[in-house]
């Protein structure tokens, strides 16, 4: 039973008591290699800045509700025990942790967090398995999965009648997982993969002084003698080669996937549905564009803020129940509210398609219908799920 004041939605002005404190932890680990595109080297506070802005937004709202939010940043060092890091956050009374971690680290954190009654928000791992066989009842996935991203792109390519794909994948495990997502998307939406190619990562430096000369001669060779295709789809999550594909393919064909037309949950180019306000507030505050990681972190922290203000409670159990319940609907500048898939706690969301400068389209595309939510045409849907939450 909710208190009457909440039912009727009224909040008294100018509260006198000390505000109720809500601590949110933020666990991250180092991200390994530099990106292939020099212009996309992330800022030191990539992700963190989004979380900080959301803390400020939560506190602007919190001032009217006598609630106060703080952020606790913790780096998970290489080889460090995730349980220890989680224990440290739990000791500070933290009930929510935003995790920018790889899949295995995330699972270790989730299992330690379960003991401590902490809800984890996954913003860093796109792995479908974390929402399927390896799903956890205390992990809310803010980041879209590889299959959601692949489906978002595939719907557009099919709408565009670019149905014949040349799939080029990298040699790392995550590249293979992404290529699998594109294979699945092609089969689902009626595209045909006319040929698959693989580019080995032979190591070496990301940026070199005269590298462009070699790349210009290598990429055409790597893409020549392909059967007739409409679009090259690159699965290169490790960023080894994809950025070098556009304008260099043997045949004059567009590139999509890990370069060219890219699916993402956020882009500095996105301005629709009030997003311009968000970009402008972020830019003013941090003097740089807002990245996808910033937005995922913002969304995670806002989810906690939204559930806290709606329940008018700082009790993690109450907030958690609201987050996982049917009432949740977060405005996040995507043209419709974000909700949770109850069967695996994945945040439903539209997928933006961008060339990095403008938004080319937003999926789901018109005509891709679904009985529950058109957003569930993106990614693995309930009938296929392997997740069995308690």
């Amino acid at each position: 039973m909710l208190p009457a004041s909440l039912l009727f939605g009224q909040i008294e002005a100018a509260p006198a008591a000390e505000p109720a404190e809500v601590g949110i932890g933020y666990l991250y680990s180092s991200r390994g290699l530099e990106p292939l595109a020099l212009a996309e080297v992330p800022a030191e506070n990539d992700g963190q800045a989004g979380a900080e802005l959301a803390i400020e937004d939560n506190n602007t709202t919190g001032q009217f509700l006598n609630q106060h939010f703080t952020l606790e940043m913790t780096e998970l060092a290489d080889g460090a025990d995730p349980a220890e890091a989680v224990g440290g956050l739990a000791q500070q009374g933290i009930g929510y942790v935003v995790a920018d971690l790889a899949a295995d680290e995330l699972l270790a954190v989730a299992d330690a967090a379960k003991e401590a009654g902490i809800t984890v928000f996954n913003i860093g791992a796109p792995d479908d398995r974390l929402r399927e066989a390896d799903c956890r009842a205390n992990v809310i996935h803010v980041a879209p999965t590889r299959s959601m991203l692949a489906d978002g792109l595939a719907q557009y390519l099919v709408w565009k009648q670019w149905r014949r794909w040349l799939l080029v994948e990298g040699s790392h495990p995550e590249d293979k997982l992404l290529a699998d997502a594109y294979r699945r998307a092609a089969a689902r939406f009626g595209a045909e993969i006319v040929e698959e190619r693989r580019i080995e990562d032979t190591g070496g430096a990301r940026q070199t002084d005269s590298g462009v000369v070699q790349i210009q001669s290598r990429i055409p060779v790597l893409t020549q003698e392909a059967p007739d295709y409409d679009v090259l789809v690159a699965a290169d999550e490790s960023e080894v080669f994809a950025a070098h594909l556009p304008y260099r393919t043997w045949d004059a064909r567009p590139v999509a996937g890990s370069a060219g037309l890219m699916p993402t949950s956020w882009s500095p180019a996105h301005g629709q549905w009030g997003a311009l306000q968000m970009q402008s507030r972020f830019g003013k505050r941090f003097s740089r564009p807002m990245t996808e990681r910033d937005m995922l972190a913002w969304t995670a922290v806002r989810l906690v803020g939204e559930a806290t203000s709606r329940t008018n409670s700082t009790e993690p159990a109450t907030v958690d129940a609201y987050l996982k319940g049917p009432e949740l609907g977060l405005g996040a500048y995507k043209g419709q509210k974000l909700t949770l898939r109850p069967w695996n706690l994945q945040v439903r969301q539209p997928i933006l398609l961008t060339d990095g400068r403008v938004i080319v389209s937003v999926s789901p595309q018109q005509g891709f219908l679904h009985e529950v939510s058109e957003l569930d045409t993106l990614g693995i849907d309930q009938p296929e799920t392997e997740c069995r939450l308690p």
Binding site: I11, T61, G329
Partner: protein, 323 residues
Amino acid sequence: MRIAAMLLGGALPFLPMLPASAFTAYVSNEGSNTVTVFDTETFEVTATIPVGQRPRGIQLTKDGKHLLVAVGDDDTIELVDTATHEIVGTLPSGPDPELFTLSPDGNLVYIANEDDNMVTIVDLAERAPVGEVQVGVEPEGMGISPDGKILVNTSETTNMAHFIDTETHEIVANVLVDARPRIAEFKQDGSEVWVSAEIGGTVSVIDPATKEIKKKITFEIPGLRAESIQPVGVRITKDGKKAYVALGPANRIAVIDADTHEVEDYLLVGQRVWQLSFTPDEKYLLGTNGVSNDVSVVDVAEGKVVNTVQVGELPWGVAVSEN
């Protein structure tokens, strides 16, 4: 060009007296940086006024002599002379003004500054700021009580309707509503204020005396997904009997019995209908259709869409002059 100019010049002295029901509608075109002017008797476009960048909020001064247009990307509100269509001044609106409202006496302009979590109050005659109120994240909708004592501002990311005392400039109450509240509109007798929530898909009817939500109006349209029903513009007839809510990408205007708060009908209009305005005699209701670049004309008594007027690109707001 020359022929057109001569015809226009020649026609001017012979303009007939317009019947009393002819008003002038002004539509801000967010995409083309213009205001389209049309006659509400003939529904002919009579002029297109170039204005600043990204015009959205639009209202007439009480004397009808000036049109106020919020041009967000120029960080100002422009004053357009309604007789000459010249821009004759600007107001110090604060950054990125989107929506604003006038005090009932017409002397003050209350402006939502989305980027700064702030409401700016400007004296219209002096064209000078006279106050600021800190509100929630991304303030947007602005509704003024008929007696001018309470201003209701909605903040889109905080999801609240802030009740502001216009004497003290203090917030006296905050009412949590559904996600992304866009518009606050009072009944003329001051008994209710209606707040639309675009992402939440509802309209909250708030009792301004108790600050309690009396009723949450929901919408259901067969064949349409709940997510596509996004309430934005709200207008209530002067007698408080009927209300109209623009439902955005649902491409419909809901007709609501404003006494019982029951939805009576959904009128099919153009694409992505956002803002609404009555003609002063309440014979017609005009709705801006952002994606189809037109304005739907609803005959209020008939409850039917009777006309469509092509305007500029991405029409956003609409205001209708008594003159």
